[in-house]
């Protein structure tokens, strides 16, 4: 591989790691505000290492839900990593212990920085450098945010309880690009709110998954069925 290309890929990986670190600080602070201690917060970033799932677990716990309900929400949000793995497997071509290690680093960022590379070598370098850079900086930032949050005292005085909603909205925002997704978001929120008074805390969030499953089964893909296909796509 050309040294310039190699340097470019690694530089991109470091930049992505730094950007992700910012999320890590807010995760650490929010996790502590939600009732986890600093060790539990750091264990989540080390062991779970997939941001949206971690936010979901602490979000459910912070809302008074059972921790296992939070773990279930984390698993539901972790399903997309399985699909990332599908895209990555042919690009990485790893087996055995390499694959076992690569699995832990399979997240949004490492996938995005890998699957579009033109060669296997570049895909592997993009995956590894991004995965490791995010892993190191995400965990360092989590520790920093958790210690910071721990020293802030009452989280409500600092608005940390309101920060959770803002963080989730910022995570959701880029996913609202299609009409189907926007409908799913509104229905998921409405269903959750309608259940709050009748179910244990956390369950309303899990119930929102039924919206995703229902809409996934019932809707067609986003392509316009009335569109006239290109000549090359005609049967």
């Amino acid at each position: 591989m050309d040294a310039g290309i190699r340097k470019g890929i690694v530089n991109d990986a470091i930049a992505v790691g730094v950007a992700t670190g910012v999320y890590g600080i807010s995760f650490g602070a929010i996790s502590v505000a939600s009732g986890l201690n600093v060790w539990q917060t750091c264990a989540l970033s080390l062991l779970m290492f997939t941001g949206a799932s971690q936010y979901a677990l602490v979000g459910v716990v912070g809302a008074g839900g059972a921790p296992m309900t939070g773990a279930a929400a984390a698993l539901l949000l972790g399903t997309r990593n399985a699909l990332y793995g599908l895209k990555l497997a042919p690009m990485l071509g790893w087996r055995g212990w390499r694959r076992l290690g690569a699995a832990h680093l399979t997240i949004d960022e490492s996938t995005a920085m890998s699957v579009l590379r033109p060669t296997h070598d570049q895909a592997r370098l993009g995956f590894l450098s991004t995965g490791l850079s995010v892993f190191v900086l995400w965990n360092a930032a989590t520790l920093f945010g958790a210690v910071l949050g721990d020293r802030m005292g009452d989280p409500r005085v600092w608005g940390l309880d309101a920060a959770v909603g803002g963080a989730f909205l910022a995570l959701l925002w880029p996913r609202l690009s299609t009409k189907t997704n926007r409908i799913a978001g509104v229905l998921g929120a409405a269903l959750a709110l309608s259940l709050v008074q009748f179910t244990p805390a956390g369950v309303p969030v899990l119930a929102a998954a039924t919206v995703a499953i229902g809409m996934g089964l019932l809707t067609r893909s986003e392509t316009d069925p009335t569109e006239i296909p290109d000549e090359e796509h005609l049967p």
């Binding site: 264990a43 799932s53 809302a63 990593n81 803002g166």
Partner: protein, 104 residues
């Protein structure tokens, strides 16, 4: 209990990642599965926002400083503010309203 949830959740998330790297392409590569996997984060994140902003530990729904924080965060996103700014806007708005005694 929190430790058990951390271990179970982390192990499950790892196995999901490993499954994607290990199963044959055809097992999961179905349009319906892809659509559901795409919609799950959207529906769950929206539900989390709703519960976080309106919910209370007593399982009632209220409107307080958190809603104002979310509103200002939304403005930030519309103005293309970066993640950390959006989070700080939400926190700062709620903290300010509470300090001034304007919202609970």
């Amino acid at each position: 209990m929190i430790w058990a949830a951390i271990i179970v959740g982390s192990l499950g998330c790892y196995l999901l990642k490993l499954a994607g790297l290990s199963v044959p392409q055809s097992v999961l590569d179905h349009p319906v599965i892809r659509r559901i996997a795409d919609l799950i984060p959207v529906a769950l994140l929206a539900a989390l926002i709703a519960v976080q902003v309106f919910g209370t530990p007593e399982r009632t729904l209220v409107m307080d400083a958190r809603l104002a924080g979310l509103g200002v965060a939304l403005v930030g996103l519309l103005l293309r503010a970066p993640f950390i700014v959006v989070v700080l806007l939400a926190a700062g708005t709620a903290a300010l309203l509470r300090a001034l005694g304007l919202a609970a």
